[in-house]
Amino acid sequence: MFKGRDVIDVDCFNKEELLRIFQTAESFKEILSRPIKKVPALRGKRVCNLFFEPSTRTRISFEIAEKTLSADVTNFTASTSSLKKGESFKDTILTLSAMGIDLYVIRHSEPGAPVMLKRYTNAVVINAGDGIHAHPTQAILDGYTVWEKKKDFTNVKIAIIGDIYHSRVARSDMKMFRILGSEISICAPYTLLPKDVENYGVTVAKKPEEAIENADVVMGLRMQLERQSSGLFPSLREYNEMFGITPERMKHAKPDAILMHPGPINRGVELDSYTADATYSVIPEQVTNGVVTRMALLYLLLGGVQIEGTD
């Protein structure tokens, strides 16, 4: 049911399919603890990581996932590419298409770039983040993290606090957690909420305390300083005071609540330093989960050979 499909955004999957991805990821987790971290699942498959926008975390995560599964990996990054010499996106893709790529992982600063890529290739496409549109693999790792901790979605309340407007992670997370049946409460100054955000099926809280109230999962989002100059908020100090996730505010969540953040963190802005390092923080685990969920996706989409310990 997965083979050959593209992942433009997370809502291409239904609940059953998402759970299947999580289960597959679970079975891959063991591989990462082996002394030899390599299985031949994708031997002979050619994967190209197309990074038109600088990224370290996501690119490394994908690369480790691909190499663990023994895929042949080609990296294409904008800084080393002919794009700088004025070659268009279209021509870049047409050139690469001649090289027999089976799957592209694409990161781009422009929304819709993965859809555009599909116009010029028959290979499988995974969106690794396109502008402020979507970041489905980050959402899937977030979903897996919650699944691992809570083993449930329907009785789970997720609070998302911060710059939702500029966060493709938040946009994909809102879609996915609604598909999974969770309740979502979001909070940000209205300048940082996109139009008609309620249509995701989320509640907009006026204060962070209200969003966090009784939450099982609290998610912070990166706040970037440059938003200040575009008139979206007055100062980082005021932002932290009014919307920062502090231990005090975390008290409103359920006692066993977890704290998540897609990283990189701005300590003292969206997260208090104490909060980031607290025991309820699963931020480091998210990174590991990023690798196994990406392995699961690659494996399912490319229809890799059976490996021991997986079904």
Binding site: S88, E110, G112, A113, M116, A134, D196
Partner: protein, 437 residues
Amino acid sequence: MKVLIKGGDLISHSYVGKYDVLISDGRIEKVAKDIDNDNGYREIDASGCFVFPGFIDMHTHLREPGFEYRETLDTGLKAALHGGVTTLACMPNTLPAIDNKANVSFLLGKSKDLHLADLLVIGAITKRREGKELANMGEMKMAGVVAFSDDGSPVTNSHIMRRAMEYAKSIDLPVISHCEVTELSNGGHMREGWFSTYFGIYPIPDVAESIMVARDIELSYLTGERLHIAHVSTKRSVSLVKQAKRDGIPVTCEVTLNHLLFTDEDLFDYDTNKKVNPPLPTRKDQDVLYEAIEDGTIDILVTDHAPYAPHEKEVEFQRAPFGISGLDLFSNMLFEVHRRSGIGMRKLVEAATFVPARLYRLEDKGDIKERNLGDLVIFDPTQTWECLPEILYSKGKNTPFIGKEIKGKVIATLKNGEIVYDAEEGMMRRVEEIEAR
């Protein structure tokens, strides 16, 4: 040489229904039921077809001078005839801008020599369209412009706009305003709403248009100048225009066929051929646009024909320029609006013929009636064809219809009683015919 069009289904201001049309010396001589052809008239069988007055498209970009790789007068005027447009006005956002009499004369002279569709020229409001100093409007009027506009950009400075409107009033020509508060629209690429959020495309709020519509209506109230609002696309703009008309302010407006056929939701595939400014409306706003045509708040239909070269549009959505090529498909798009909106064909045809002719005082155009020019379109609503790039005369293949199956087909376009476009023969060589005479 007389031409007799037999058996067509006329849709025009003066005649609706089955009539024959006899044209002699370039003008309509007679419209009647069953005109006998015993005098050897050249007969055109229009049975099963609509016969429209030649369409008048008051908002096009023909790119000459300066952007000939996108379009030329030759390709643009041929595209017009292919779409059933026999008279069209071009906007002055060329390089250099059409802001002086020499440029106006150049366009008018060149288009006359081409013997294709009739070209009307709209002059710039301000020099180089910079919004700073008034262009030589009087000289341009003497050279033959029909209106003034800085289309493509708004006249941001309200004081300059006021003076421009006063001055234009003193020479009795209307001003066409491209309403856009750029501080609100800059950086945006589609209409702000749920779909801009869902697609992750930076948005343009609807009020970026209506705020300036309100300003210009107030300036029209102040100056008494005839104001025409270009490409209205939001319910708020419609509501302001409706109120202004009730108040007796001399304001008219247009909507593009694009805004009647597509909505923000259609951008799901990030197709740059659907990227246009003002951005495509929400479905709700589109319904208001339909109503506004019905109740007459919206006066005319236009293409806002904006051809681009393929390499300009084959880029990421937010990096692509705004604009849709439309002239080749004018009749098809109008028919499609009828099919989708349920608005009567007569209403739509009038909004693209009779009404613009009245607004711009084109006395012998825009209607099928005795003594009007023999500018006619014969359109078969039953034929379908595939919209391949090579079929379009325009250099701009940037239409959402490209590669799609299209319902209805222009069988022939007549200009001054002569067939200038024929679906089977293509563009007729009128120049040679005229020279041979």
